[in-house]
Symmetry: none
Subunit: 226 residues, 4 copies
């Protein structure tokens, strides 16, 4: 019944609202609602977000939200799909031409970690979804599909490294991707309780550099120990 035009073409990372509202602007209204919803769901989660706040931020009324997305939950699902697609798009934009396997792997890791650090809102949405046991993404075909290209890339780099004799063999790309994700995800997602329980902010400045350096070194130590 409700389709996501954002996913039919190459999706764009949700930016900030820069447009003034003009009357009778169906696509604009829809997009503004989506942007506002991303902000609200990021801020407060599914149950914490308020539909009237979303409508207000989107410079429209609550009715339109239902007109375009059917329900608060379907809107949440759409927001998640768009966010995942944005991540996928960003990773696929990198080119590894001329890189050695070690360089390519390093570049990929850093790219993923950078994206996480620069888009904490994605992580908040994903955390929310995990708290709901992925109820709203389970029906979504889009998310699974958007992860395939990046796994493929990882597989290629591993294969090239193995062929070149610098990487160990029999590394599963899925497990490797999850490990890379874990290292980047945790310090961003859990920055607040980390700061509260340890007194350090691992996502900014000096600590961040040290973290990236150690994690890179650790991953390469593993991959290159034949």
């Amino acid at each position: 019944m409700w389709t996501n035009p954002e996913l039919s073409a190459h999706s764009l990372i949700i930016g900030y609202m820069t447009d003034l509202k003009t009357k009778r602007d169906p696509l604009g209204t829809r997009r503004r609602i989506l942007e506002a919803a991303t902000e609200e769901f990021t801020r407060a989660g599914l149950s914490g977000a308020r539909v009237d706040q979303i409508a207000k931020k989107a410079l429209t009324n609550e009715r339109m939200l239902y007109y375009y997305f059917g329900s608060k939950e379907q809107l949440f699902t759409t927001v998640l799909e768009v966010a995942f697609a944005a991540f996928s798009d960003a990773e696929l934009a990198i080119s590894f031409d001329g890189d050695t396997p070690v360089e390519a792997m390093t570049r990929l890791m850093h790219s993923i970690w950078d994206f996480y650090r620069e888009h904490p809102e994605l992580l908040r949405l994903v955390n929310n979804e995990n708290l709901h046991e992925a109820r709203y993404l389970k029906k979504s075909m889009a998310v699974r599909a958007s992860m395939q290209p990046i796994l493929l890339r990882l597989k290629e780099i591993l294969a090239q490294g193995e062929l070149a004799g610098v990487f160990r063999s029999q590394v599963e790309p899925e497990l490797l991707f999850i490990t890379i994700s874990a290292l980047g995800y945790y310090v961003v997602s859990n920055r607040y309780t980390i700061e509260t329980s340890m007194g350090l902010d691992f996502t900014l400045g000096e600590e961040c550099d040290a973290t990236v350096r150690m994690h890179t070194e650790m991953m390469l130590a593993y991959l290159t120990r034949l």
Copy 2:
């Protein structure tokens, strides 16, 4: 005004409710509320949890919740503190007598990862708290204190390994702890979106073993590369 007797002595991991209700049982009532609250906050987060459900599960009425904990938010804070204390207590219960540094480090990592896998409710609570930017733990002295002993243990193992010439030097215990946490945390906390986006459950059976093996190997590869 409201104190947490759970934290004054060695705290115990909140188990499941096994007791029948008896009249005039202040400690029992308080404990049942706390257990029920842990379940509800785990299930639905702070805003999603319902005080009437907590009261019902605790076999008491809503009024007692306010009588003992003051507000839903203070109850949430207490639940978090108790959960952190439970983690800390569990880790401090391990003995490393007779272990080599590599064995001790391996044992510590596995212990942390096991705890995470066996207590997904702690991770859900922590995720919730991060979504609130640690608002409810910020005032808490208890959490910070409960992390110190485990950091000290890590420091000792690192020092012994360095002394024995098997571990590299200049490894920061805080960063190491966070890295270990990240590896164990992510696969549990994000198991649902991982399953949705990759089709695999990395916390159960075969996948779990492979994950633990790889992460252990990776960590030791890093620490032992002098």
Copy 3:
């Protein structure tokens, strides 16, 4: 955010509900809520009034009360402003053409006292507001403004009487107004404890006439003693 259309034009004394409810009637709904609120606040004061009762009496639901007035307290403030405006409007409707100063003063006094006796609900609201130390009217510009015309009228009558040589000079209109108010207010506002402590009802029939006669005579005795 919430405006009071009742005060923008000449306000009318809130009467009793005589209209049936019709669907989609924003002005009607708003007015019915205001009328019902006046009744409820008159009956039980701010804290004693029940929003569900107001909604029920207004043939709508509680949500609309907040939709139109924001909060119970803002509704209370609006009720007060409307009541004051009703008093002011009633007094300004009198014409003193052809009256001697003594006649005019007598007529004004009686008009005020009549209004008090005929609108005990205004007095109850004012009493309530005084118990709250005028917290809800303090922000209101409307009330102060609505008292100016009547003070001006009093001033004119005093000046004419002084010019005609029948009234004493140097009578402050504010103090005079308060004295007139006091005499009319007390017997209505405190009728219940007066009856309890003295066994007489000074607002009805014989007692009322005697009271009005004495107060009129007293006031004129003062004003005409040069």
Copy 4:
């Protein structure tokens, strides 16, 4: 079932709490509850007052309030009776020996007005009771009885003035008492809405003196106009 020891002997004006609490002090506990209740009912009225606040202020627990007074409403009734008795006692303490009728009348008026100005809490309680249509005093015999002596005094002064040829005849003491009360009551009871609607405080300093002067003059102008 519940008696009021305060009224059996000469009652005292409720002062401020000066006693420390001692264990097992039945009369002290009862008195402290009554004092605290007077404060609370004065502050917030019957429905606004909170029994837990009363208990807290009285340094006891809510249960004792019910033990001594039966219910919140009966406590309210007792507070009212004590307050009325305090007024009566104060007025009966004046001696008019050697006064001319005009002096005596002036002294009595000023005494009443002074009491009102110095005990606004009595007026708040009376206002509250009027908002409840004297529901809680209706059963009370005490209040009616406590007003008789003061009416008798007024009657005597009127009779002496009439005998001396300075006061007019056929003045009803009840109506006179009410008129005197009205003048003193209104400026204290309604000081807040007076200030809000007129911008003047008629209970303090200069305005107060002018008010007392005018009201005295007005009353004597009436009584002495034969």
